[in-house]
């Protein structure tokens, strides 16, 4: 277990040494199914994840949770508190929970999360649940990593469904209206349903985004939620979408890795006091020096991030 935890740390630090371990695990890698949960702060994502983990444990699945929270871009510090809601699984060896701060590296969480998911798969965890609070661009990153994205809403929406953050309706494969024990949840579900029937938002035209009502604290609607996730999984696999998307994501990830390596090499090449730093100062614009760095990148040095 410590080996896995350490490897995830290396992945987070973008430490290239982790490659050796990954190479060794290659044959064991079974990419797990990834369910992403996102939504505004406090909508009950962690409580829902906790309830879903309980259901999956009853069905004897080994489950991993990656709970992310943005770090402060200024200090790099973070308070990661999602575990608080998942304490009942604390001593269960078949549940692995990891908190991650999105440390402001470009590509953000997604590169680290993808590698962490592969590691978790190699250690036998399937599915992996990814929780991210929906601020900034983070929900887009979740959707880019998850196989099924669940967007969590609540009855206390303030100005109603119309005011839901732009872009969030499009990334949902499933909507959850959580806190169904509170007043107003039916109104939210109804408004959402009529909005979606007027103008479907799903990126996948053949998929109708279901709306599931849950009360995470009372553990109600959790079986229905899992059933919705399962039917989305079957839909993707039957339509060949899963395969096509996996191929596309591998391409995207490769491009991101290239960008990461190149960025690192460029920073090294531009170190203070170097020839290129001097030329950059004279030029005043980046393009010629960038070309020069790209030429250097084609050079013989082995590429390591």
């Amino acid at each position: 277990m410590r080996a896995l935890a350490r490897a995830i740390t290396m992945v987070e630090r973008r430490d290239a040494e982790v490659r050796e371990l990954q190479q060794a695990l290659r044959d064991r890698v079974q990419t797990p199914y990834v369910v992403g949960f996102t939504g505004a702060p406090g909508t009950g994502k962690s409580t829902l994840v906790d309830a879903l983990v309980a259901l999956l444990r009853k069905r004897e699945r080994s489950v991993a949770v990656i709970a992310t929270d943005p770090n402060s871009p200024f200090t790099g510090g973070a308070i990661l508190g999602d575990r608080i809601r998942m304490q009942r699984h604390a001593l269960d060896p078949k549940v692995f929970i990891r908190s991650m701060g999105a440390r402001g590296h470009l590509g953000g969480l997604s590169l680290a999360a993808r590698e962490a998911i592969r590691l978790l798969g190699a250690f036998g965890f399937d599915p992996v649940i990814l929780e991210t609070v929906g601020v900034g661009q983070s929900e887009l990153e979740v959707a880019a990593v998850a196989d099924t994205t669940v967007v969590v809403l609540t009855p206390n929406l303030g100005d109603g469904v119309q005011m839901i953050k732009a872009g969030i309706l499009e990334i949902a494969d499933i909507f959850v209206v959580n806190k169904a024990d509170l007043e107003g949840h039916q109104r939210v579900a109804t408004e959402l349903r009529s909005m979606l029937s007027l103008a479907p938002k799903s990126q996948d035209k053949a998929w109708k985004q279901p709306i599931v009502a849950t009360s995470a604290t009372r553990q109600e609607g959790i079986e229905e939620l899992w059933a919705a996730i399962e039917s989305h999984r079957k839909h993707r696999e039957a339509g060949g979408k899963a395969k096509a998307q996996a191929e596309q994501r591998l391409k995207d990830e490769t491009a991101e890795v290239v960008a990461e390596i190149a960025r690192q090499r460029a920073r090294e090449a531009l170190a203070d006091g170097g020839v290129l730093a001097e030329r950059l100062r004279e030029d005043g614009t980046p393009y010629e020096v960038a070309e020069e760095i790209l030429r250097l990148l084609r050079g013989p040095r082995e590429l390591t991030p």
Partner: protein, 138 residues
């Protein structure tokens, strides 16, 4: 503002309340101070047993465990965390504690492997500086 000045390898600290007392205002204040000092704080909440604390620290790959306790059971619970770490071959993880702890107990707890103890009224900056000494690159 570039995020580049944030450390690439932030130190991860697991904070937990052990014992039965049910308020966590103090530990949350510490959590915020540590976050603002650039640490990644994983807060696991109230009423944690030593086994829960150590398991969580291992999964989270925390380098430090911070324990808070006001119920007076520090002489049993703090050493229990240390011995749980021994059991799990994880004595590289540093343990510090906070609470109302008499001086004699402080000495005894340090003998038993708790790295440092902070009593009420300790300026938060002292905790940060202690960590900086322990992890100079942070």
């Amino acid at each position: 503002m570039s995020p580049a000045k944030a450390p690439a390898k932030p130190v991860r600290i697991l904070l937990a309340k052990v014992g039965l007392d049910g308020h966590d205002r103090g530990v949350k204040v510490v959590a915020r101070a540590l976050r603002d000092a650039g640490y990644e704080v994983i807060y696991t909440g109230l009423r944690q047993t030593p086994e829960m604390v150590v398991d969580a620290a291992l999964q989270e790959d925390a380098q430090v465990i911070g324990l808070s306790l006001h119920s007076g059971a520090h002489m049993t619970l703090f050493p229990a965390v240390v011995s749980e770490l021994k059991k799990k071959n994880a004595t590289d993880i540093i343990v510090f504690g906070g609470g109302i702890i008499p001086d004699d107990d402080v000495e005894e707890l340090k003998k038993q492997g708790v790295a440092e103890l902070f009593t009420p009224g300790t300026p938060l900056q002292d905790i940060v500086e202690w960590l900086r000494k322990r992890f100079p690159s942070s």
